[in-house]
Amino acid sequence: MTATRPRKPPAPVTRRVARWLDRRLGAADFARSALNKVFPDHWSFMIGELALYCFVILILTGIYLTFFFDPSSNVVVYHGSYAPLQGVRVSEAYRSALDLSFDVRAGLVMRQIHHWAALLFNASIVVHLARVFFTGAFRRPREINWMIGVTLLILAVFNGFAGYSLLDDQLSGTGLRIAYSITLSIPLAGTWMASLLFGGEFPGADIISRLYVIHILLLPALIAVLLSAHLFLVVRHKHTQFAGPGRREDNVVGERMWPTYASKALGLFFLTAALLCFLGGLVQINPIWLFGPFSPAEVSSASQPDWYMGWLDGALRIMPGWEVRAFGFEIPNPFFPGVLLASVTFALLYLWPFLEARVTGDRAEHHLDDRPRQRPVRTALGTATLSFYSILFLGAASDVIASSFRVSVNGVLWTFRIGVFVVPPVIAFATYRLCKELSARDGLPTRSRVTFRQTFRRLLFSSDAASG
């Protein structure tokens, strides 16, 4: 009888797979440090994740929709199952969207989940931006990450607009007309830009297929790349944390990634998905069959863009009819609210960390978050700005407000014209006082000695020169 060496029992499958991978990737050390990463677990730090999860849902549902959607402006006759459009001439794009809604099983729920996810993607980014702003988490070393974040906001807004404009329905087509005209209003280059983007005069036959490429390839790719950079920087810098027992600038206190934080993150992803599925199945959104196919000669009352463009639409409405004309040239009216205001908004957003550093003179590294009440000036400016844009948002709903409450739409617009200048300073003042009160009551020291009055001087002359 030949002697056989005693065999060890075979290792479990997971271990064998891990061994196989490690022999090709050598990732054990990296993976270990990933497992042990510490994350502060304050609830407000999870808002950025919400945006990430919405993006994932957008990609998943979006891929499904691309198999059914036809981004063509060719005219066909509709013969699907929605009776009130039977025999109507529509574009291929609109027809394929109707088919998705009525004749593809699970098509409508996918479409609606996708659209609700877009609304919540933008909303999460804005709430996340507000959290980062009010806690001062944009300060050194995170200025680059802040700017990447602002870029992600711009991309999300544009991608949402491109997405719902693909369907070539009356409502989104009106929005495209407005986008074309705002592009047209840019001095010198406007007529060229509009012609190149649309392939000629509005509406042209190219815009739907071009928006399709922009919406499913260019912008999502850019978002994915910037999102990866954004997350990489968060890992590189480690997350900020609120001051508290044991928390200093040179440490990060929280939960380990494995198993707790990772599980919570995964759970939050599924809960986000659950909310989006709930909305997608039970709350109707964008009923394009009621709006009808796009025609440049038709329009419906109560035409608004999706919420994240509302501030632009509101600005267009409350702007008085002023234009600049000289020597046969003009800067048309829509340029001021549509291009100038938008540019100033995003310029201020991009530059904020540097403006604040210039005014406060504080260029040190910060890893401890401020509580908003500890920075009365910044918080007051933030809430005032939010109130300014909120009034613009409400302005976009001027005709809906007028007809819902049976008031004059002219009166509503005048109210917003005045309110947009009167309300922000009032909010700023009230916020400032509230912050002062709360921080005094809690015995929290103010983090900066700069007052409102000093802000402008320091902005212009820099805090190093100014002393009071």
Binding site: R177, G190, T191, G246, G254, S263, F269, A274, L316, S398
Partner: protein
């Protein structure tokens, strides 16, 4: 290493995970419900689908998984407060010096070939500029398109969207009709509002346009001069045109002058006449470029 610290509100105490039978049971129920929902979802789909059922079941399925994981994480997983050291972000002096040294050493290899580097840079730049040129293929030169509509090609009959010519008398007093130049009912810049005013409304023609109306019929471009939405709301009693997009309001009796809202220009007017058969014709193009403004609109 766990550092002692104050407890967070609403958290279990730091230290070893406390397994709680009820917490585990709750998580188990969540997962079970989720599994059930997935099965029912498959059945619903197989039976023909229903948007509300699909959405609700997907929500229960994903929500069950999510709630189960979160309950499990909150109740049963460890919550030690752990501290990790946060190093300085800046590189150390030594690291910077080492980098600089290696970089400078490499640069020696490039040598002092300023001219060569300059030429290489200009080649890159020129290539970059040249690669931008294909963008020009995206669309035509704006040119005169924005200042010209099909009405400008000579006198043309006004027709409705299905091509039927419009006769005097088709539009009732106080009525409005959207019309196009014949043969161009798909032109995006040509939609026109034909309005039949009441006899008692005081119409004040603009200078030089006294013969642009026929029998109390007046025609204006339907494209708003603000951002181009169709000005679809004709308020017959007041003689006002209201654009639904941004509430620009135009006075029909005064050459469609803007009286409220962001529009800064009147709606261009179309010169009307009647031909021998009693059909309405346009004698020429609008009084100005239609639609929203642009840089060289008045040139």
């Amino acid at each position: 290493m766990a550092e002692p610290g104050a407890r967070h509100e609403g958290e279990r105490g730091a230290g070893a995970p406390r397994t709680s039978a009820s917490a585990d049971a709750l998580a188990a129920v969540c997962f079970a419900v989720s599994t059930l929902a997935a099965v029912v979802l498959a059945v619903v789909y197989w039976r023909g689908g229903n948007t509300q059922a699909e959405g609700a079941l997907l929500a229960v399925c994903t929500g069950g998984i999510g709630a189960g994981i979160v309950v499990w994480a909150k109740q049963s997983m460890p919550h030690d407060e752990v501290a990790e050291h946060r190093g300085a972000i800046e590189s150390t002096e030594e690291e910077v010096a080492a980098f600089t040294a290696d970089y400078e050493a490499g640069r020696e290899g490039l040598g002092r070939r300023r001219l060569l580097l300059g030429l290489a840079a200009s080649a890159f730049g020129a290539l970059g500029a040249a690669l931008v040129f294909p963008v020009r293929s995206l669309g035509p030169r704006p040119g005169k398109d924005l200042k010209h509509t099909p009405y400008g090609d000579g006198p043309v009959r006004l027709v409705t969207e299905d091509g039927t010519p419009v006769r005097i008398g088709d539009v009732a007093p106080d009525g409005v009709l959207t019309v196009w130049p014949e043969g161009h009912t798909d032109a995006g810049d040509a939609p026109t509002l034909l309005i039949h005013l009441r006899r008692e409304q005081q119409f004040r023609p603009r200078a030089g346009r006294e013969d642009w109306t026929v029998d109390d019929h007046v025609a204006y471009s339907k494209l708003c001069t603000h951002v181009g939405c169709p000005v679809g709301l004709y308020q017959a009693a007041s003689g006002l045109l209201l654009c639904p997009c941004h509430q620009s309001t135009f006075d029909v009796l005064d050459g469609a002058r803007p009286v409220f809202g962001p529009a800064a220009r009147s709606l261009p007017q179309l010169p009307l006449a009647v031909n021998a058969d009693g059909e309405l014709i346009a004698r020429g193009d609008f009084s100005g470029p239609v639609g929203p403004g642009f840089w060289d609109r008045d040139r």
